[in-house]
């Protein structure tokens, strides 16, 4: 029992960034835009946060610098996500193509920036990332909790949340009652950019000491799967993120158990993806996705 308790901080550390990103992705899809650029946006946020934190640490900012870095990373990722917003909402582009473009672009931009700033294909190591509290939890766990609660409250308890969900289900109906679909969808995409960037920062400041091209390593895609697996609701997405995060944490945790240790770590790496795939098949046939997600809204068309 004690052993299981002692694993909780590790699991939460790994789950938090995935959960934060997934909530952003969920909000984006509920507003009617699919964002497969989550992976790239996380990378942007992580690279920015790692670089900022390195310089702020040099300047003696300490933990305050880590928080500021998180914020800057999130803001830069938000700016980056406007590209997707313009393409998907204003130009009615294919959202998968524009998301793919952002993912490819972020691969280049992050390492290019590191080459310019640090003359290496990674950012320079910072000494101390975010510190855990008395019970071993990182602040990122609390951030994730706050994000889930706020997202749930806004989506289901405020007029804005209802408008947002309406735009994802039936934008024409929303438009006819005076909701500005364009503004709502922009809000959805930019929120997902902000949260993905924040999550990228959370990831790099708790789990590692620098940004490399392997830092994000598919977490954004896991978050994307968590949105589908969690059936586009805050509670479901939280559950899915925990499942996937726990599966990822297993490779870390397995070293504590003799019988698990003998299994190759790749088995645990495969788990979250295999679970998602099986879940997608199991839930097939029933429609949980927002009905107009991924479809551009053309005001002129009937």
């Amino acid at each position: 029992m004690n052993m299981i308790l002692s694993m909780i901080p590790t699991i939460l550390m790994i789950v938090s960034p995935i959960l934060i990103t997934a909530i952003g992705g969920m909000i984006c899809e509920r507003s009617g835009v699919v964002n497969i650029a989550l992976e790239g946006l996380m990378a942007i946020g992580a690279c920015t946060a790692a670089s900022c934190h390195y310089f702020l640490e040099l300047a003696g900012w300490g933990q305050a610098g880590a928080w500021l870095s998180l914020l800057i990373g999130a803001i830069v990722a938000t700016l980056f996500s406007t590209i997707h917003a313009v393409a998907a909402i204003d130009l009615k582009a294919d959202q998968t193509i524009s998301g793919t473009g952002l993912n490819l672009l972020s691969d280049g931009v992050t390492i290019f920036a590191a080459q310019i700033l640090f003359r290496a294909d990674r950012t320079k190591e910072f000494r101390v990332g975010m510190l855990s509290d008395r019970i071993g939890l990182y602040p990122t766990a609390y951030i994730a909790l706050a994000v889930v609660l706020v997202a749930w409250y806004v989506l289901y308890k405020t007029p804005f949340g209802m408008h947002l969900r309406a735009c994802g289900e039936h934008p024409a109906a929303a438009d006819s009652v005076g909701i500005n679909v364009r503004v709502i969808r922009y809000a959805g995409v930019l929120t997902s950019g902000f949260l993905a960037g924040l999550a990228g920062g959370c990831c790099v400041l708790t789990q590692t000491i620098q940004y490399t091209s392997n830092t994000i390593n598919g977490r954004g895609f896991i978050a994307l799967a968590a949105v589908a697996f969690g059936r586009w609701t805050p509670l479901g997405v939280t559950g899915a993120a925990f499942l996937f995060g726990a599966a990822q944490a297993m490779s870390v945790i397995a070293t504590n158990f003799a019988f698990l240790k003998r299994l190759p770590s790749e088995i645990f790496n495969i788990l979250p993806y295999a679970v998602t795939l099986i879940a997608l098949i199991a839930f097939s046939g029933r429609e949980f996705a927002p009905r107009s997600s991924g479809k551009p809204y053309d005001k002129g068309a009937s």
Binding site: I36, A87, V109
Partner: protein, 369 residues
């Protein structure tokens, strides 16, 4: 004056109606933005273009002489780009978005390596390796097609999941190969390697002809056969295709399998034709599959277009090492590639321009009556 006006209008109309011209413009735009970025960070963009040019024409950097190895490497790099481009293109023409080229490529490479290392060497082994790779890629892609057709599982999410499953599955398998260490296995037998040709100093090998054959097969199947027509009809409008008696479910499954076969072949050609004397245990993705998506989109999913785009990407990949030597971070090529895909997405906006122009023409006609 009036005549001039007319000419300009017809040029815009020609441009808006010509996918090839738009792709060309998109690539140019990507390079313009890339140049601006290089300038902004205080580097000399001339060096970037020099690297690209030298990779294309095989000019040595140091002594002003020629180094044809560059051309060989450029062509060799373009092989997986073109094939992975077809992995994307084939599915795209059927209305599917195959993000899984990377996974199919990895499975092909793994299958080829398994055949090369586990069978005793025999002459012509490479043929069996290639066939195994094509099969493995086809199965990996076909799974997605089946899931999409039978269960309506989103092929985007399914292929992304299968990419990562392929990565770790490949590690699981390859770690069992003889002589496996952290990064590689025992040497690949000579009977499994592809013969070099034309430029012996480079890695250019007969895989290039398989790539050219793939270009022809893609063009022939897509444009000239009944099956190709069924594929394209499914892509244009699934319901209409179904109503005209086209087996949509089969089209979707088969197209994903064929798409996977192209990527699987790419994996084998990189392993057996490239610079790998030993078998590989990959720790991360090679990204040919992901870049293949960009290649196909730049090439408008046409045979020749994809070939040209693949060659361009090959040039960019080969120029990376030259760029590093000339103080240009090689990641600028990734940025340019990403920008190109973003601009391809943005070009959907041209449809709005087309509509606007059509409206204006109608309006002017009405006014003149």
């Amino acid at each position: 004056m009036k005549r001039n006006d007319l000419n300009r209008t017809s040029f815009i109309d020609w441009f808006l109606g010509n996918d090839g011209a738009i792709s060309f413009a998109v690539v140019i735009l990507g390079f313009i933005f890339g140049t601006i970025i290089v300038l902004l960070v205080g580097k000399n963009p001339i060096n970037m273009y020099k690297s690209l040019l030298y990779s294309m024409i095989g000019r040595a950097r140091s002594n002003g002489g020629w180094n044809f190895r560059y051309i060989g490497e450029t062509l060799n790099y373009s092989i997986p780009f073109v094939l992975c481009g077809f992995a994307m293109a084939f599915a795209y023409r059927v209305g599917l978005f195959n993000v899984g080229g990377e996974g199919q490529y990895i499975m092909g490479m793994t299958a080829a390596q398994t055949v090369a290392l586990l069978l005793p060497p025999f002459p012509g082994q490479w043929v069996v390796c290639l066939l195994a790779a094509i099969m493995a890629g086809a199965i990996w892609g076909g799974i997605v097609g089946l899931l999409k057709a039978r269960f309506k599982v989103s092929e985007v999410v399914a292929t992304i999941m299968l990419n990562y499953i392929a990565l770790y599955l490949s590690r699981l398998i390859c770690l069992q190969h003889p002589g496996a260490t952290t990064y590689n296995t025992a040497a690949l037998p000579a009977t499994s390697k592809l013969a070099k040709f034309l430029i012996p100093s480079s890695n250019l090998n007969i895989g290039f002809f398989f790539m050219l054959a793939a270009v022809f097969i893609y063009w022939f199947v897509m444009e000239k056969t009944k099956a190709g027509f069924a594929f394209r009809a499914t892509g244009y409008n699934q319901d209409a295709a179904r109503c005209s008696g086209i087996p949509v479910v089969r089209s979707i499954s088969v197209s994903m399998a064929v798409a996977g076969a192209f990527a699987g072949l790419a994996g084998a050609l990189v392993l057996l034709g490239g610079a790998y004397p030993k078998g590989r245990i990959i720790v991360s993705m090679d990204n040919y599959g992901f870049n293949g998506m960009a290649v196909a989109l730049v090439g408008n999913c046409r045979a020749i277009g994809t070939l040209l785009a693949g060659l361009l990407f090959g040039v960019m990949k080969q120029s990376q090492s030259l760029m590093q030597d000339m103080d240009i971070p090689k990641e600028i090529t990734y940025i340019i590639q990403g920008l190109i895909v973003v601009f391809i997405a943005l070009r959907a906006g041209l449809q709005l321009v087309r509509e606007y122009r059509a409206k204006r023409i109608v309006a002017s006609k009405v006014a003149s009556v």
